[in-house]
Symmetry: C2
Subunit: 562 residues, 2 copies
């Protein structure tokens, strides 16, 4: 046993935790209405692991010996479960493929180094053997960055960072922590919180993603408005390359040329293995509150988020859902009791009398942190903006509930797969001036794709991160495919996903705000950063890794590989 | 005439504006005490331009024809004044060399393209001719990035962006502006201010530096605490490379792989010519105030700046000078009249009675912007922090004076040269935990260097930009060299400058916070970003520019060139 915990081989999170609709009486009617699926019909659970067909490992004796000498016999895994767990991330296509035993290329070995020195030995050994090295953190990637290329003939080694999971140092006088890259979100925060500190970084994947993974994919957390994206939080790092180690000391800012730090950020394993990261850490706030608001329309909600960003307030979270996502959220509520059960209908009556179309209403969450006075000051500014845009305050109760449940969403996808529906997400960012068109055109693109497939589909959206010049829009979509054959389901999925991604680049938005490029989004990279930009990126990767040993196939469109 | 204005060939700024001590009665005694120089003794002005020996241009007829066809005859300059103006930036060494007619390698031609298409033609022509291309903005660089390598045998073309000086577009709904890269600071702000907008970017070089230059060197302005460094302000750009153009659309944030935007930032001409930049712009603030404070010690001042950064306040400027710089500032005051003349001595008496050592007092400026309520709120938070650290408020008067004079400082260097003293600056950034040691060790390094040279030297410092995890320390030093031979003066200058830069990297600080690498700081790049980091940077540059045609010699230490 390596001591490293992994997610389920077939889905999100750990065994024993699954999504259920039993305690959410409004969900089944909602799902029936929107995508025509009966949540109470018997589902099809994932197959037994024993039924998978896992190809034999190509690891040869020479490399195996070197790897075992480097990390110890117990820390070179070649059993089927280990290899399957390291084959895929948790994107929709990953989940469909693994359930269908679609395993054309599986890592030949998993190594679990204990420290940076062992990482160096592994990297050097794999490159010396002209093998392929794929760094692996929490395995939560949903852009296809973790999967060996189908036609890869060389030995493929997955380097699992799970044993590098310690906070090594907290520089309390600077608000910086030096942390090993393989630490999972909860473990990181436990170690920091116990000393009074936090990174404030809370991506949806928090429970099953690692610091190194966040850096490698340019992650963003829901409190990014205050704490910054991981690119802001990351102040220094160590990165193992063949024969050498990049060491970037923690710096608040620097003008030392093209930023090597910003080259490693988002490099998805192609520029080496991140072993340590210096991150900004903050004292745990005295107060922390998420307050819910309701806006009469999506346009009003977006305009309010923009106004908050431009105001003298600086909340930690600015989030607003479109009408579809708001309706979905309401359908996910547990039955209320007593007064709370009556409060909702009463409020809705009041709003209807005020002329609201409740089908257009949009739910919003704003986060606050700081001293008592500061919360009061900020809530006063935000309150005025909300009222100016026709919104109302729902209060702390729904905000606290949202805060408790915020990491549970990914479990729904496996539940949907059981009942025969495909659900996934695509997110992007664009200037404020483009958001309304981006939204309308992307919803239309998804809707048209559903029509093309002849399926009932559902698409919803929220604004999740705000900046001076723009924001992130996060789309979720689901539909029951018209086939139960995995390959056909995947093709249908791509009809929708392609339509959404194409809409992003056609509407002045990026291919991804925080999920990364991987293999899934590489096709649109040139639309995003231009052909010349992609050439420059390819030139960098080639200069560092001429033999294409480091996670080849991710990031670049195929014609830019060498 | 090209219509492009340049600085003096021999110094900072425009003809007719010079520094004078006549209206500053305390300055001459101060300078006499600190460095033993008599400001009233007759100085040595720069030589007449006609006395310079300018080597002949190597521009051949073929390339000249192509360049003239590209930009028009009037926009290819080969006269000596034009070539000398484009030979150097405004670093101390640059100034000493040009005054001494030390012109071993001068650009062979200056081209002034009118638009991006002409830039493309020039870049392609120079690279096709295996020439060297050096982009030139305002010529304010003080890190040696503008000077052709002494031993460069190929034709050297300086590409002056001065005609690309327009704000092309303001996206008012997003707070973004698309701006040509050659625009000077005042021109940019005039164009934006007239429409109600500002970038908020105010580097010391503001009047004589360009947007493209800011991007190419990772500039930072004194209001960076609010508006961000230029790396934050820059959201998209266009960059001309041989045969292609990188086009990065404006995005608030993105996870599209290693950041090409962050590769161009700081690239100092080695990754192409920046022609357009999308920048964040903000509505002109309703109120803007700089308030002066005084702290009893440097340690108290630093601690207060850190506490402000960690507080719920978010001022635009956080600046505190050490005791030496405070004394220098006081010596620069014009004579006060009436009540103001009495206020200073009265205040100082009060402070002495309170136990202050006035020789240790440190002057601070904090900037505020926003609505009335916001200024009141922020000043209340800052006021408490100042008092907690033993400081007192001096008020808006000195703050306003500082704000008026903030761009005048660079003129002093030429004045010092006239009277036979060398003055220059070195700035850096480090975590808060390192600042006190960094400061003490750097002051000691400079002082030791003065002793080694046997000269009376003066070094002073201020904290100029604050971040969550650290701050920028900005050192200024001056001394009268013991030789009037330019080459010996430069060698003496380097004894001091080297000591300071070495102290930076030895004390966990970066080689430059916002002046860039150039040729002056390249020697320490490996200490800053590690040998492997420098290799990665070199790999990128080589991939983009295998022929070393784009501003070769800047950024990298010599042994990393190819």
């Amino acid at each position: 046993m390596t001591g490293v915990q992994h997610q389920k081989w077939w889905g999100w999170g750990v065994e024993g935790i699954t999504f259920t609709h039993e305690d959410k009486p409004k969900l089944a009617p909602f799902v029936m209405e929107k995508v025509g699926i009966d949540l109470n019909a018997p589902g099809t659970p994932p197959p037994a692991f024993e039924d998978l067909k896992v190809p034999a490992s190509l690891l040869d004796g020479d490399l195996a010996s070197v790897l075992r000498a480097a990390v110890g016999d117990a820390y070179v895994g070649t059993d089927d479960m280990d290899r399957v767990v390291h084959t895929y991330g948790k994107g929709l296509v990953d989940l469909v493929r693994v359930r269908a035993s679609d395993l054309p290329r599986v890592p030949d070995a998993i190594v679990y180094p204990a420290d940076e020195d062992q990482v160096r030995q592994v990297v050097d050994a794999v490159v010396a053997a002209d093998g392929v090295l794929i760094p692996f953190g929490g395995g939560s990637n949903i852009s296809g960055s973790l999967t060996p290329p189908v036609d890869e003939k060389r030995v493929v080694v997955s380097l699992d960072l799970g044993r590098l999971n310690r906070v090594l140092e907290v520089d309390e006088a600077a608000g910086l922590a030096r942390v090993q890259a393989g630490v999972l979100g909860p473990d990181l925060e436990d170690q920091l919180n116990s000393r009074g500190w936090t990174t404030g970084h809370q991506p949806d994947s928090f429970r099953h993603s690692t610091l190194g993974g966040w850096v490698a994919t340019r992650s963003s957390g829901m409190q990014s408005d205050k704490y910054g994206d991981i690119s802001d939080i990351t102040r220094g790092m160590r990165v193992v390359l063949p024969g050498k180690v990049i060491a970037l000391r923690p710096l608040p800012s620097t003008s030392s040329g093209p930023s090597v730090r910003e080259m490693i950020l988002g490099s998805e394993g192609r520029l080496g293995v991140i072993t340590e990261v210096w991150v900004n850490v903050h004292r745990l706030p005295k107060n922390r509150e998420i307050v819910a608001y309701l806006f009469p329309t999506w346009a009003a909600g977006l305009a309010a988020m923009h106004a908050i960003t431009e105001s003298d307030a600086s909340p930690t979270v600015t989030r607003v859902s479109d009408a579809n996502e708001t309706a979905f959220s309401l359908s996910m509520q547990k039955p209320s009791k007593g007064l709370a059960a009556k409060a909702g209908p009463i409020l809705f009556n009041v709003l209807e009398r005020r002329g609201w179309d409740l089908n257009a209403a949009c739910l919003s969450y704003i986060g606050y942190e700081g001293d008592d006075d500061h919360l009061k000051y900020e809530k006063s500014i935000v309150g005025k903006i909300v009222r100016k845009h026709g919104g109302i305050k729902l209060g702390k109760g729904p905000g606290a509930l949202y805060d408790q449940k915020k990491f549970d969403t990914p479990y729904i996808r496996d539940f949907l797969l059981d009942i025969g529906a495909l659900g996934d997400v695509s997110e992007t960012a664009a200037p404020w001036s483009k958001l309304m068109d981006l939204y309308a055109n992307t919803v239309r693109a998804a809707t048209d794709a559903f029509a093309e497939l002849g399926v009932m589909g559902f698409v919803m959206c929220h604004l999740s991160h705000s900046y001076h010049s723009g924001a992130c829009l996060y789309f979720t979509f689901a539909f029951p495919p018209s086939s139960d054959v995995a390959a056909e389901q995947i093709e249908q999925y791509w009809v929708v996903k392609r339509a959404i991604q194409q809409s992003f680049v056609d509407n002045d938005a990026t291919i991804s705000h925080h999920h990364g490029v991987g293999t899934d989004h590489a096709h649109w990279l040139e639309d995003d950063i231009s052909s010349a930009g992609t050439e420059v990126m390819a030139g960098l990767l080639r200069a560092v890794d001429p033999g294409r040993n480091l996670n080849p196939g991710t990031l670049l469109p195929a014609h830019r590989e060498w």
